[in-house]
């Protein structure tokens, strides 16, 4: 069954859609702010500094050099190997997610440059079924690392995912192994892998590829961890500290190398990629 029939979303480009609304209300400070200014400001409220959610498109645009974007994803879309049906059939969920995001899957994979340094970069889209990792995301991540090997350049992965995609069952679960296997090859090739953790990086994604970066950078405001608060509270009824699974918690507990504010993330990547650049032998 081909879920994604008409290919309308198939090649991603970064052209902006026309903006319908001029203003938006910040949930944090309550102010009405100019949508255009918010956009130009990395989706940070110009009034109070609150981070608004970034789509994968917006994220990638905020990180790479202008005009350097080239979609290098494989032409694949999700299958429904389990014939999964909860309150909706899985194919319907997929279609809705595609319509909502304008993307074929929960990850954009591109060749691009950051501060003139060529990279292959994957960016997850949280609005696509919670950025969950199924067979397509797993395959695109692996393909991205293979592209990096082909091009002798670093691989950057920006995670935003609740974990494995339940609707693909064991296939989703085993993407943890699949991405790790290709990550080991990237290491053998001595090419750098920079993992960027944003809100949220949890579950099977955090417990596999995202935690295996040579360098791991978390965005301020990220949520990082394996089990969700709810699961922990239900299983063991434990008091959790206020900073639980924040980027500060992750830094304190040695899970990541660095924290960067959203507006610093591009220069942060430029710095570390610059250091490795000669190293890509």
């Amino acid at each position: 069954m081909t879920i994604f029939k008409d290919k309308q979303y198939f090649r991603v480009n970064l052209e902006k859609e026309a903006d319908e609304a001029l203003w938006l209300r910040c949930k944090s400070c309550g102010e009405l702010v100019f949508k255009k200014r918010v956009r130009e400001n990395n989706n940070i409220c110009p009034n109070c500094g609150e981070y608004f959610f970034l789509t994968a498109r917006e994220r990638i645009e905020s990180l790479i050099d202008e005009e350097s974007f080239e979609d290098v994803s494989k032409p694949i879309v999700a299958d429904d190997p389990l014939g999964f049906q909860d309150e909706k059939p899985y194919p319907q969920r997929l279609e809705e997610a595609q319509e909502k995001t304008g993307l074929p899957s929960a990850i954009i994979l591109a060749s691009a440059s950051i501060s003139k340094i060529p990279v292959v970069i994957g960016v997850m889209e949280f609005q696509f079924i919670g950025g969950s990792m199924g067979s397509v995301m797993g395959e695109q991540i692996c393909h991205g690392m293979e592209e990096a090997i082909e091009r002798r350049c670093p691989f950057v992965l920006v995670s935003s995912s609740g974990g494995a995609r339940m609707q693909e069952g064991a296939f989703a679960l085993l993407q943890m192994v699949k991405t790790t296997a290709v990550r080991a090859r990237l290491a053998k090739e001595r090419l750098p892998f920079i993992s960027v953790m944003t809100y949220p990086t949890t579950g099977g994604v955090q417990a596999s590829i995202a935690s295996l970066g040579d360098i791991i950078i978390a965005e301020k405001g990220a949520m990082i961890g394996f089990a969700g608060r709810r699961v922990i509270k239900e299983t063991i009824a434990e008091e959790l500290p206020k900073n639980f699974q924040t980027e500060a918690f992750a830094l304190e507990h040695g899970m990541i190398d660095r924290v960067a504010r959203r507006e610093e993330l591009r220069s942060e990547l430029a710095a570390v990629l610059g250091f490795f650049q000669e190293g890509t032998r």
């Binding site: 081909t2 879920i3 994604f4 290919k7 494989k74 032409p75 694949i76 879309v77 999700a78 299958d79 190997p81 389990l82 909860d86 309150e87 199924g134 067979s135 397509v136 797993g138 395959e139 692996c142 494995a164 339940m166 693909e168 069952g169 064991a170 296939f171 989703a172 679960l173 085993l174 993407q175 943890m176 192994v177 699949k178 790790t180 296997a181 290709v182 990550r183 090859r185 579950g203 099977g204 417990a207 596999s208 935690s211 295996l212 961890g225 394996f226 089990a227 699961v231 922990i232 299983t235 063991i236 434990e238 008091e239 959790l240 500290p241 639980f244 918690f249 507990h253 040695g254 899970m255």
Partner: protein
């Protein structure tokens, strides 16, 4: 259709009749035989049509053999090794040296408790970071001396709790998967009961992935899926069906290599039978892997996991 409990009650009654018969010479043998035949028939009906949720219950049945039961019955000379060298020794994940049919192996196994005290010690088989760190250490030991690794999986999942998160349980699972993939010795993983999510995969990324007939392997527990996807904890049966978490399903999907048969009603109904089947499968698979060079082993392992997944390709 009768459920398992009713049949267990019937069996108990028959046993009582049998004893009465023996003691008092009542000559009930013919009647007893009839009852026994009836029971066998009902059981066959029940188990042949085991629903997925019933399998989940069998997989979690506390009478089911646990890792240490297999280790004691199927392997010889188990010599347990303790400690992650980093500060902990997780009793939910045990490791050690042993022999299987004369061949030396290293065992990495998840172990549940048999009673409340042991469950407290073993965290109900839920592994903490210390356990995966120990596993990685033992994998490196196995590699140094060329001993194949047998991993036995039986966990509801990695331990969800503050301590786990503080010690980077996600990173520990990731490292354990990576080590399983890198290690230059044959590896066989057997899911003997519950194969719960990332906590199971951490030691499951093996050259061969086997499952007992009534074991389960799932990305999330049916309870968790019901709560999230159906917004109702009651709908576990639907979730169990939808997740395709049984051994026959996973064999069909090509995710596992082999189903190790269990007696009707589950491994605990005839432990020696399941032990024999378990051993036969392990010995055979080990012999098969033993014939491969390290390079073949690593290449085939890589290819196995590189291609896992199902998606549709569009022509551009």
């Amino acid at each position: 259709m009768s459920d398992e409990r009713t049949l267990d009650l019937l069996e108990a009654k028959i046993q009582e009749l049998r004893e009465l018969n023996k003691a008092d010479g009542l000559e009930l043998s013919a009647e007893i035989s009839k009852l026994e035949r009836k029971l066998a028939q009902l059981r066959t009906e029940l188990y042949a049509n085991l629903g997925d949720w019933e399998r989940v219950r069998i997989a979690r049945n506390p009478k089911r053999p646990y890792s240490l039961d297999y280790i004691g019955e199927v392997f010889s000379g188990f010599y347990e090794l303790h400690g992650d060298r980093l500060g902990g020794d997780d009793r939910a994940l045990i490791t050690g040296l042993a022999e299987l049919d004369g061949r030396r192996v290293v065992i990495i196994a998840q172990q549940k408790g048999r009673d409340p005290a042991e469950n407290k010690e073993r965290y109900f088989g839920m592994v903490r970071p210390q356990g995966y760190h120990k596993a990685v250490r033992i994998m490196r030991l196995a590699e140094r001396f060329g001993f194949p690794i047998i991993s036995l999986i039986d966990t509801p999942g990695a331990y969800p709790g503050l301590e786990s998160e503080e010690k980077n349980i996600g990173g520990a699972i990731a490292s354990s998967i990576l080590s399983m993939l890198e290690i230059e010795v044959p590896t066989i993983a057997v899911i003997i009961g519950e194969g719960g999510s990332g906590g199971a995969v951490a030691i499951g990324a093996a050259d061969r992935l086997l499952m007992l007939e009534n074991a389960i392997f799932s990305v999330i527990s049916p309870e968790g899926a019901a709560a999230i996807l159906w917004k109702s904890k009651e709908r576990v049966k639907e979730a169990a069906v939808a997740l395709k978490l049984t051994a026959p399903d996973l064999l069909n999907l090509g995710v596992i290599d082999e189903v190790i048969p269990e007696p009707l009603g589950g491994a605990h109904k005839d432990v020696s039978q399941v032990m024999a089947a378990f051993k036969e499968s392990l010995v055979r698979n080990l012999a098969d892997l033993g014939e491969k060079s390290v390079q073949e082993l690593l290449t085939q392992r890589y290819e196995r996991y590189r291609k896992i997944g199902r998606y549709n390709t569009l022509s551009d």
